[in-house]
Each structure stands twice: as C-alpha cells, then as structure tokens.
C-alpha cells in the first residue's frame, strides 16, 4: 500500500495526465478510456512494489523496474477499449500507450533520453534500422502478452529499459565525443 494517501493521489494524477496526453496525440474516435483507469493502475502498482520489489532491493528502486511495472500494469488493466470490440485494435492501442508512458517515465529521470536524442537522423541508417526493429518488436511483445496471465515479466522487462537507456547513453557519448 502507498505510504500516504498523498502518495497514492500523486501517482493517480500522474498516470491520469499521462493517459490523457497520449489520447490527445493518438486521436482515434473509437478508443474509449475505462473509468478510474489511473486509480486501478496506481493501486496495483503499490501492491506489487510492496510484495515483489521492496524485499529484493537495498534502498531505492531503480527507474527501470518502475517503468517496466507501469508498462505491464497498463497491459494488465487494458485501460483503452475499442467501441467496435476489435480486440487487435484494443491490444495495439494499449501496447502503444504502455510503451509511451513507460518511456516517458524513463525520460523523466534519465540524463540520456531527451526529445532531440529520440529523433531518427541520417547519421547511421544501420543503427536506426536495428533500433527501430527493437522498438517495433517490443511493442508487438506488449500486444502479445495475455492481460489475464497470473505472472508478468516485470524484472526481465526492466532489463529491456535499462538497455534502451544504455543505447541512448552511447548515442549521446558518440555525438558529444566524435
């Protein structure tokens, strides 16, 4: 459980704002948001942190585990629903939402990821193609996870985010130290 009601409230507001920001950019009229999506995600978040993460860390929880948890809880809850009942559209939309929110969480705490650094450029087509494939596959992985499954790969998925951050760290170091 959260340490204080303020902590829960802060988490709910943050997730709520993230989902609404996503929906502003991902403008599909058939997509609907379920009631209290952020509240459900935030409650599950604290439940999971207490049960599975806190006992396994010394003090602070690294951002990659929190990004991973946030991402997979969105897959669990499927906050976006499609009015025509198309399950593929729904899974795809929730996978994009999960990736966008988790990545934004990483960006908020990372020195390596910023809006400019995220852009594909013309300097290294081979790098860009490989990186795009990794992101594309990851989004498919999120779509293909069964939201009803009992066990979710939170910790192994956290290593994906750690490596993505590392790729951006390398990208930065190459650009700043040619």
């Amino acid at each position: 459980m959260p340490r204080t009601p303020e902590e829960l409230s802060k988490r709910i507001s943050e997730i709520d704002l993230a989902i609404l920001s996503f929906l502003q950019a991902f403008d599909h009229s058939e997509i609907q948001l379920i009631d209290n999506a952020a509240g459900v995600i935030a409650s599950l978040h604290f439940e999971y942190v207490d049960a599975y993460i806190k006992p396994a860390v010394h003090e602070n929880i690294d951002r990659h585990k929190i990004a991973s948890l946030t991402e997979l809880l969105i897959i669990r809850v499927q906050p976006l629903r499609v009015s025509d009942g198309d399950i593929v559209k729904q899974r795809e939309a929730n996978a994009l939402l999960a990736f966008s929110v988790a990545g934004a969480f990483e960006m908020g705490l990372s020195e390596n990821m910023d809006e400019n650094n995220l852009e594909y450029d013309s300097q290294s087509p081979a790098f860009n193609d490989s990186f795009a494939k990794i992101i594309e596959d990851h989004i498919s992985f999120l779509e293909f996870l069964n939201p009803e499954d009992e066990s979710f790969p939170i910790v192994s998925n956290a290593e994906f985010w750690r490596l993505i951050d590392f790729v951006f760290q390398l990208k930065r170091s190459i650009y700043f130290c040619p």
């Binding site: 690294d62 934004a104 908020g108 795009a132 790969p153």
Partner: protein
C-alpha cells in the same frame, strides 16, 4: 482486479536475504511530475516512426 505475480522467486530472496545490487539513483518518490505530457507524445512518435521504418 487481481494483482500480478513477478518473474522472480521472492520467497527465495526473503528466505536467503538476497538483494539486487545496490544502486544510487534518485528516489523516484522524491521527484514531482516525472511523466511529462510532452515526453509521452515523444515516445508515441518514436513508436510510430519505428513501426513505419520496419515496413
């Protein structure tokens, strides 16, 4: 809604007092507004561009 289980053996971790290696990151709970709206949109743009490149 039911919580989810982890992919790590938490019973083993607690019983044998094992921990992930220490890290010295900023405590996320101490930072306000980590998830910024513009970053959500930037990540969505990255996702869409990545899907297009793959085609």
């Amino acid at each position: 809604m039911k919580a989810i289980k982890s992919d790590i053996d938490i019973d083993y971790i607690v019983k044998h007092n094992r921990k992930f290696p220490n890290n010295h990151e900023v405590k996320a709970a101490n930072v306000d507004n980590i998830i910024k709206p513009e970053n959500v949109k930037a990540m969505l743009k990255l996702a869409i561009q990545s899907k297009k490149r793959g085609k």
